[in-house]
Symmetry: D2
Subunit: 365 residues, 4 copies
């Protein structure tokens, strides 16, 4: 239940205020160059505390690889990575020990398990996504070898929509804004909410280019279905769209169908997927994040005895989780695509005869 | 890859124009009364050809149980169900044998597998969803035993939104409309598109009531994530929302957080899920279906040689797949909830000590 | 729980006296020639009633493919196969309806599930292995394409050991004897036990040739471990040995280690596996079958009320299950090896870059 | 591929001479008291260097829990455990960097992955079993809560058989001997082999008591099949027997069938399993270990260029791997039984109605 993927699998562990969090990434093909600096860079992009737009928790998020590599290459054995927690302030959470924060998982974890690590939300904290980013970084390294690149950015904040999508710009923007023209206005919305002890929602657009035709395993491991699961599983996500998504429901079939030409698809309403399989066009997924549930206003809730109490939060929180969420969206897409690329091997007899004929010649497989 | 679920698993088989389609539903607890008439009723709700709003293909969709039951009860062994195809008109598809229909899976299946059963879309046809409905019906029977009920209906067609949601009405409506007041207008949109040899999109709202707190398995089998996968995997689905979904991104945290009172949640923006776990409130999921890709207008495409050709479809197709899609949404939600209910067993030590202490007394488990 | 394998998966259904039994074989690569006559031949080898050494139940065991093939080839979609039961004599089992046959699963199924299809043992009957043989036949077809062949035969019956192993001879022997010189004596042991209303045990040797180096997925899907699971899971199996198995524990390391030469291994005590991975040498597995529990002598047992009663069996039973078990051993080995061949794809980066570079050239994967 | 189990899953990582090894144990029910001292004791039993009968490598094998517990209890979230390597002597392995040790996984890993961490066998080293013992210790803690206890010991060394089985004695014996009367002779066989720079094989008997009827999930996750997989997957295992195992093949059915009486089974040839499901009697499994492949005599092998060379090993090795293997057998049996106990929940409708009715009363599940 804490494992994502089928052939390249990410199993994560760790709580917000425990000793450490980390993951085991299994199924990485042997012979991949493991660029540790790149993994750390990806973690640095997700790292909190880089700007006033983010939570003030200051974590180095230094990742350490414990296994699965040898002389700079993957060996085909599981890659374990660990990040030790260093900047916990568990005291901040004493006041919520016996109550359920509205909009949080406190209520459901308590009732499901009968016990709850209340410090920073425990396992339900978005802090766990650091492990996803570490795993996703290695997935990205593998995908690059076959020409697939993934980018993301914010296309909407607090209802303010980007008019254009510049993924290169987003990479340099401290709020991962896709549109420099609306960025300022979006930032102000975030800061204003923060000043009001409140929070705002946002929408992340994630894109992959360079996909071959054929990724996705019908009927119950379709590319779009698994991307939906991957994105909806990120903390605070409430909706996922593939390609034009909801807008397709307002078109007629004759408008929405992407015509096919000898040069490729004439449009891309589909977002790069047909029948749950990549069609070679750009992959586009939108993930909608609700406003951060942690706000610094008094809220109505109950305690573990079922009595009405007021919730007054301390601690440090992102006023707009979508920002750091964007980095997680990339990681999840990378994990999905790497898994699909591996799963796709063996779908045709010629894959098998090619690779094993080859092995017969070399005396191995 | 053709199996859905983890503890109650549905494995399906079959092509649109093959001999039969069907499924094996595994993991059904022993001792469940298997109401065959109810299973058939559910299939009848999904069955094509009941109104001009649906495809003209006339299939009896008679389901036969081959295993897993004894004297009217489930035995704990896999339940196989088969539906023989009777009304195929494969001739209709000769003209598309060598070309790729826009908006369809033809292109991707051909390139992924190098071979394609072109008759009626083969495995990629929505006809396969009959097997899901059969499996979902048994899941519903199990859920009823613990008080969970599932309903669905159309909350939007071609951009025309229902103003109110009446699930009882939807059950009697031939287009599963949730709002009798907008139904007429929605129907007209469908029929007009049909007359224009075109198609329209629609949105299905699916609801479950009676859930206990605690369904959903974090972190990678969360209830919302798996529902998103389940719904996005249905043919023609392009977006999924949980609860208020996209609307939450336009709210502030102080508006979106559902206050908790001793009597329960004071609002339900969350749609019944917190932290990937059911919170006991009504479960609400919206699934957005694109307009049917099969339309009867000339369309630009290429053939298997990569040459530009015109696609002129014959055959019989739904002008709005969302209608019959609604029945499939219910089935998928039932499969997800039944799976989650089973997976949840054993999450606390007291589950184990209760059931095995019991077994020790009786001499069995 | 009724699915075997990870990448090529066999999901079976059916009871001994139900309507039908069958399977869904998923993950078969597209483009494999499906030789239906061969599948039927394999089933005929397992079919009961061919000689006095077997049960008298006469089943045609006619297999029908319902999906997953098109114009003689696999399409990459699930292959469903069904075998309808025709020669049930459920009346024979009325007398055991309320008691537990010694050595059978009656007692455990009843207590586990609280309900039991007592007719012919229901799901626990070895009749289910027909579905495995059908699936295994397709696995064999795939393996042949990469040069792997599987054979089996009886190397011991009632303690009488074969002195030599002739797999070609076994194929023609009605008891699948590996040694023509001991066959007569072994047959007599079986027939004598049968005349005494009793039964005997036997040992099956299963062999695969033509394996590449590299099949098996450490650490928890090792080739030897999965073969052990596969064989021990066959009805009546009580022990499994890999290569020299138990005999290796009586050797010193210096005797048991197979020396490696430029021409290959100088001996094969290991049975073709090192570290859970095939080493390219002949794969050898021994499966030990207990004597058939169904015997026609009065036996001491209890009924469902817990009272002491005498069990007097009717029905038709194999006096030595190892004979037909040998065909099942081949099927299971085929399923394991096909699964491992598919899983092995993607273990090296060069697999991925080769196949996807190729796909980039062709515009697909 | 590095994950064992279905509901309680153990995912391990680490190489013999890497930074650390460890595991993530997922699926542990919340509310289990995590006795860290007990986990360390179990590791101490497996720890090398305790006597001249074992390898001289001195590892503290100090286990650290990184997640999944709170105030001494499991929380239902994944439990990560790590053991840092401290006593590697990688220099010892320089001489084997380019050659394949006979009887080892060097040859197969090199050919499968194209890259190999040659230091101490890398991932294929039995050192990884420390992680299994850590995970197995927690499984044992859970099983104790429902009255299941697991023990093991050596019933044979170098062909010298124990005449009686005293599991309490084995726990105190430095070679885990089951029979004090043969222990001396067995020890001498080990020491003599060691002096001859050679090694011996051995057989481990593992036993579980207190099982309820009903553990095991037919048809493809049977208790005996999964135990066979678990045991055969341990380094150096070459055969597995359930109950009387091979001896059953020399009995007639009338001798081998265990009669059932109102007081229980009159004998236990079956070893506690019928039809793949526990029958409530004592569970008995024998695991046969080949002699340690690492011996200090010159051996014939080839190098990575395929040239004939002599293998001269250095390093520190167990003269009889079965001794420390016994502790691993217990861990694997514990993991299997805990997994089966959890999987068994939900096999009857009354499990579901009991637990969810209960949850309805309490307002949670």
């Amino acid at each position: 239940m804490n494992t994502f993927g089928k052939k390249m699998t990410l199993t994560t562990f760790g709580e917000s205020h425990g000793k450490a969090l980390g993951c085991i990434l299994d199924g990485v093909p042997a012979g991949l160059t493991i660029d540790e600096a790149f993994i750390q860079e990806e973690l640095d992009r997700r790292r909190p505390g880089k700007s006033p737009l983010e939570t003030g928790r200051k974590e180095a998020d230094r990742v350490e690889i414990l296994s699965g590599t040898f002389e700079g290459f993957s060996t085909g054995t599981p890659i374990a990575m660990v990040i030790f927690n260093t900047n916990q302030k568990s005291k901040d959470y004493d006041s919520i020990k016996d109550l359920f924060r509205p909009g949080h998982a406190d209520f459901t974890y308590y009732h499901k398990y009968g016990i709850r690590d209340y410090r920073g939300g425990g396992r339900s904290s978005a802090r766990e996504t650091a492990a996803r980013v570490a795993g996703g970084a290695i997935a990205k390294l593998m995908l690059r070898e076959i020409g697939i690149e993934i980018h993301s950015g914010l296309c909407e904040v607090d209802g303010i929509r980007a008019e254009s999508f510049d993924f290169d710009y987003a990479r340099s923007s401290r709020m991962l804004a896709l549109d420099p023209d609306t960025e300022k206005q979006q930032e102000e919305a975030i800061l204003q909410a923060k000043n009001n002890h409140d929070s705002v929602g946002g929408v992340v657009l994630t894109r992959a280019t360079g996909l071959p035709v054929g990724l996705g395993e019908p009927l119950y491991y379709k590319l779009d279905a698994v991307l939906a699961e991957a994105m909806m599983g990120i903390n605070a996500a409430k909706a996922v769209e593939i390609g034009d998504g909801i807008a397709t429901t307002h078109m007629k079939g004759s408008q929405n169908n992407d015509p096919i030409t000898p040069e490729g698809f004439a449009s891309n309403h589909a977002g790069g997927i047909l029948g749950g399989i990549s069609n070679g066009d750009t992959l586009l997924v939108k993930t909608h994040f609700k406003p951060t549930p942690s706000i610094f206003r008094p809220q109505q809730t109950i305690n573990t005895e079922g009595e009405a109490v007021t919730c007054e939060l301390k601690g440090r929180h992102d006023p707009c989780v979508a920002i750091r969420g964007a980095v997680v969206c990339e990681a999840m897409m990378a994990l999905v695509l790497a898994d699909m690329a591996l799963l796709g091997l063996g779908k045709k007899m010629e894959h098998i005869t090619t690779l094993y004929a080859d092995s017969a010649q070399k005396g191995n497989a």
